[in-house]
């Protein structure tokens, strides 16, 4: 039997959800009868509304009559199980009914009017709260991570809570060359053996560095394992899936928020090759979900809540990069599924509020929102687009390689013994990272500090090794940095950077996907920035030694500063990030907000586009889609994939000739019949037809609703037994007085399930599912019911068409 396709895999979790701790996280649990304050969902109104217009076609235009059963609504009807997909149409319809009721009531009394105004503004209030909270959390994370990263090096004697920079904040003992040294800051070697010089001190520092890194990562993975396993990973693939309508209970809960926030700091501080951007999106979404409980409008409606979550994703990126517009576009381009205009405005406001909260916290002490803010405004020449495009190609290649390697590694983790030792894995990777990272200056510092250094252009004021030009510090006065052959400092730096590039590339592959919170924006950008800076320095030296070449003579006149290696680093970072995530516009806008000028949009766009094209040519999916597919989440991609042309009948269940479809009839079945049908199959819904002979469709009933209603009626309604007839019709025919009481279930039936013809091309079916956010859809031929198509069927069909294993689609 093929029919099991429409079974509910997540059914076993219903119990746990109904008694879950994070009860208020889903409307299903919110309707738990044990919590007296949670009002019943809006079903009675909705059903009353339906029955208002639900006369039969025979023209019974009688007065609307409420169904007996639904005078007291059954709790749980209209909710979802864990690991299931919501029905957007139903949710939006519910919200409209709720809104309608509030509006109609608001004319009655002043109190109701006030309530309706509050209701209208609750969305904005929610945005304000999310912005404030996310900004505050991001600020806290920045400060803590900065401090803990420096803790690996040493301690501040002024006050242990200061990091290295703030320890030397008001010190006058810093020198131009070693501008971060001050007597208040003691390295571990100085604290332990009393001196910071010599090989012994180096060994002590090395040991301490590794030990702290191991401690941090061990703590992180232990906390994740003990309190909130959902807090691991980047979170963006899951949030993408959730936004498309999937339900993962507890994924956005209080504990996840707490643990993710705490362990993110630990993970970042441990020096692992990971960033905090993806997890910050997850943190924002958790905040949003938690604040949603305050407003019944959002608590009870899965679709409305997803609008808020889309805005929260924008907030996450906004605080991660200090780029509110870029955040909104990221949410629009990369994460969101349903993004109405209202959400656009709201997410923009929330992103702004968050950015300004973060700015007022001022985590870096320089009124900037990120560590790597670009301050140069050097012009670029049109011919430089060639190296920028090359960087784009590099970014695309790196993106494709990274995705393949990381997916292969994650699959290995999933299927082999590797996956059984998550704690050991994290500790081992940390050990390797720390041991390899310490000797190299550019890997010892945190990735964002590295990016910051690479993005900075060399000026007179810089003392970085990267600016170690031969006549750099010869003090020629004026803007004398124009002619610059590489000095010894730069040569060493280039060598170190090359090692750092290889190091980052390899370690990021194994790090992303470990059981600690990990984002990959920063590592990807670091890889790109290193590559870009190297190319920039190479170009610069080329131009210096070959002034006379035709290509250079036009823009590199002697004495003019014609190539900006920092710009190359920026373009490289954009290219690599673009290759991995396949973002384009949002990436460019984020970079634009980092630089605050339109000058560099064209180089960035060229690199991002090239990178996307190259990466797309090597593998269609971005890293997030690849992880979604690896995990088998039910996610319908917006990209139109070109499959061979098939029609709806090829997708639907039951397959042709594979036995009849399990249906209910609108009259003539008893409770026992229905229960038998339900227990003999595992479908999560049943069509209701006119009669056993006529396959004409009347409506659709969900398994969960049916079971809950029958259960409830048996317990509470007098006279309902196994032999009671079930009616889905509007009017119950009069029953003989001796027979058991009839059970009227029209209220739980969806009177308007979407139907498609069996000739509908699959492309159109996919389009309809995506755009309307359907969960299932019925297939008819010439008006007769033929079968049913669920989201899972479509995903399986698409997997088959792409020659992948259709059983990789796990959830429904």
């Amino acid at each position: 039997m093929e029919n099991s396709a429409y079974s509910s895999d997540g059914f076993s979790s219903l119990r746990s959800s109904a008694s879950g701790e994070d009860a208020a996280e889903t409307p299903g649990a919110a309707a738990d009868p044990s919590s007296p304050d949670s009002a019943p969902p809006q079903d009675p109104d909705r059903d009353a509304g339906y029955s208002n217009y639900g006369e039969g076609s025979e023209g019974h235009n009688g007065v609307p009559k409420l169904l007996d059963l639904l005078d007291e609504p059954v709790p749980g009807v209209g909710t979802y199980e864990d690991f299931n997909t919501i029905d957007w149409v139903r949710e939006k319809s519910k919200d409209r009914d709720r809104h309608r009721e509030i509006t109609s009531k608001s004319r009655e009394s002043l109190w109701a009017l006030l309530k309706s105004v509050t209701d209208a503004f609750s969305g904005w209030l929610l945005m304000l709260l999310i912005g404030l909270m996310s900004g505050a959390l991001a600020g806290g994370i920045d400060i803590s991570a900065h401090w803990m990263t420096d803790l690996k090096e040493g301690l501040c004697l002024n006050g242990f809570w200061f990091n290295h920079e703030h320890c030397c904040w008001s010190s006058n003992e810093t020198t131009f060359q070693a501008r971060d040294r001050c007597p208040q800051w003691k390295s571990w070697a100085e604290l332990i053996i009393g001196t910071g010089e010599g090989p012994f001190a180096y060994i002590v520092s090395y040991l301490m560095y590794v030990c702290w890194a191991l401690l941090f990562s061990f703590l992180a993975v232990s906390l994740v394992r003990a309190f909130a396993p959902y807090a691991c990973g980047s979170g963006i693939p899951e949030i993408k899936t959730i936004l498309s309508g999937f339900i993962i209970r507890g994924y956005l809960g209080k504990w996840t928020l707490l643990i993710k926030t705490v362990t993110l700091v630990l993970a970042v501080s441990s020096g692992l090759s990971l960033g905090k951007e993806g997890p910050l999106v997850h943190v924002s979404c958790c905040c949003a979900n938690i604040f949603c409980h305050l407003f019944s409008k959002y608590r009870k409606n899965e679709a409305k809540r997803r609008e808020v979550l889309s805005a929260a994703a924008a907030v996450g990126v906004s605080v991660a990069f200090g780029a509110p517009i870029g955040g909104v576009l990221f949410s629009l381009e990369e994460v969101s599924y349903y993004f109405p205009l209202k959400t656009l405005w709201r997410s923009f406001s929330a992103a702004l509020v968050a950015a300004f909260t973060l700015r007022s916290i001022n985590p870096f002490g320089n009124s900037r929102l990120v560590l790597f803010y670009v301050e140069f405004h050097a012009p670029w020449h049109l011919l430089e687009l060639v190296p920028f495009t090359l960087l784009g190609v590099f970014g695309g290649l790196w993106g494709a390689f990274f995705i393949r390697a990381n997916i292969a590694w994650c699959r290995r983790r999933k299927s082999t013994r590797l996956g059984r030792y998550p704690v050991l894995e994290v500790v081992a990777v940390t050990a390797v990272t720390a041991v390899l990272a310490f000797p190299n200056d550019y890997t010892r510092i945190s990735s964002s500090a590295l990016i910051s250094e690479l993005f900075t252009d060399c000026g007179l004021l810089d003392s970085s090794k990267l600016c170690g030009y031969a006549n750099g510090s010869a003090g020629a006065g004026g803007n004398a940095l124009a002619d610059r052959p590489a000095g010894k400092g730069l040569s060493i730096a280039v060598l170190q950077l090359s090692f750092a590039l290889v190091f980052k590339m390899l370690l990021t592959v194994v790090t992303f996907g470990m059981k600690v919170p990990s984002g990959l924006f920063i590592p990807s950008m670091a890889v790109g920035a290193i590559a870009g800076r190297l190319l920039g320095v190479a170009m610069e030296q080329l131009a210096y030694y070959h002034h006379d070449w035709g290509v250079f003579s036009s823009w590199c006149s002697a004495g003019a500063d014609c190539i900006t290696p920092g710009l190359y680093a920026m373009v490289g970072a954009a290219a690599c990030l673009g290759g991995v995530t396949r973002m384009t516009v949002s990436l460019v806008v984020i970079m634009f907000e980092l630089t605050g000028g339109l000058e560099y949009i064209v180089p960035l766009m060229a690199a991002a586009m090239t990178s996307k094209w190259v990466a797309d040519a090597l593998g269609r999916e971005g890293i997030y889609e690849a992880h979604i597919r690896l995990n088998g989440y039910p996610f319908l991609e917006p990209k139109d994939e070109l499959s061979p042309e098939t029609a709806a009948r090829a997708v639907m269940r039951p397959r042709q000739g594979a036995g009849p479809l399990a249906v209910l009839t609108q009259a003539g079945m008893t409770v026992r019949d229905a229960e038998a049908l339900v227990s003999s199959t595992s479908f999560s819904g049943f069509p209701v037809v006119v009669g056993p002979d006529s396959q004409r469709l009347v409506g659709f009933v969900l398994r969960r609703d049916l079971l809950i209603s029958i259960e409830n009626a048996r317990q509470r309604q007098e006279g309902v037994t196994g032999s009671s007839p079930i009616f889905f019709t509007e009017y119950t025919p009069p029953q003989p007085p001796s027979s058991p009481a009839p059970l009227k279930l029209r209220g739980i039936m969806d009177l308007s399930p979407l139907t498609l013809s069996d000739h509908t091309p699959t492309d159109i079916v996919v389009d309809v599912f995506r755009k309307l956010g359907l969960r299932q859809c019925l297939v008819t031929h010439n008006g007769r019911l033929l079968g049913i198509i669920t989201k899972k069927d479509i995903l399986k069909h698409m997997a088959e068409m792409a020659n992948r294993d259709p059983d990789s689609i796990l959830f429904d």
């Binding site: 059914f11 076993s12 219903l14 119990r15 746990s16 008694s19 701790e21 994070d22 738990d32 009868p33 044990s34 749980g76 600020g139 806290g140 400060i143 803590s144 401090w147 006050g159 242990f160 809570w161 200061f162 703030h166 008001s170 006058n172 810093t174 020198t175 131009f176 703590l219 906390l223 394992r225 003990a226 909130a228 396993p229 959902y230 691991c232 990973g233 899951e238 993962i248 209970r249 507890g250 504990w255 707490l258 705490v262 700091v265 001022n362 320089n366 009124s367 994650c410 699959r411 996956g419 007179l460 004021l461 510090s473 003090g475 006065g477 059981k515 992880h627 690896l630 995990n631 809950i708």
Partner: protein, 159 residues
């Protein structure tokens, strides 16, 4: 409200003629944050001051050391309490209630009668506050266990 330590004006002066680069740091107000007020003693004679000062770059910066202090202390205490609680759950809890551990695996099998769960949940809840907290904790633990199974054992989620 700004403490004396929380503002600084930092001037970075690059090498100039035979004077090496230097960094000056003073607590002055934003208005006075310029080379003339901060660079003391001036390393060049009077007529060169202007040229020297043109090369220097002065930045006024603010921070809130209280915010930093409070953040770090809160963070450390949260991590500390989480660690303690984790140790408690790992070491002490199993000793107190041994019987619970044996009943739990059974419950995961009985998935058929889900519909009664909410009603049961109602009765399980005790009346005293302690029992309620207990119940909530039990439910939460079950949920975490479920999550742990999904993520770590079955590898169904989060790769």
């Amino acid at each position: 409200s700004k403490s004396f330590e929380d503002v600084r004006c930092k001037c970075i002066c690059p090498p100039y003629r035979n004077i090496s680069g230097h960094i000056y740091n003073r607590n002055v107000s934003q208005k006075d944050c310029n080379c003339l007020h901060v660079v003391e003693p001036m390393p060049v004679p009077g007529h060169d001051v202007e040229a020297y000062c043109l090369l220097c770059e002065c930045k006024y910066e603010e921070r809130s050391s209280n915010t930093i202090k409070v953040t770090i202390i809160i963070y450390l205490s949260v991590v500390g309490s989480l660690l303690l609680y984790m140790l408690f759950l790992l070491l002490v809890d199993p000793l107190i209630r041994k019987q619970d551990i044996y009943t739990q695996p059974l419950q995961n099998e009985e998935d058929t009668e889900d519909m009664r769960a909410p009603v049961e949940g109602l009765q399980v809840r005790g009346s005293t506050v302690l029992e309620r907290v207990e119940g909530a904790q039990q439910r939460w633990k079950k949920q975490v266990q479920e999550q742990r199974k999904t993520v770590f054992d079955r590898h169904k989620m989060l790769s």
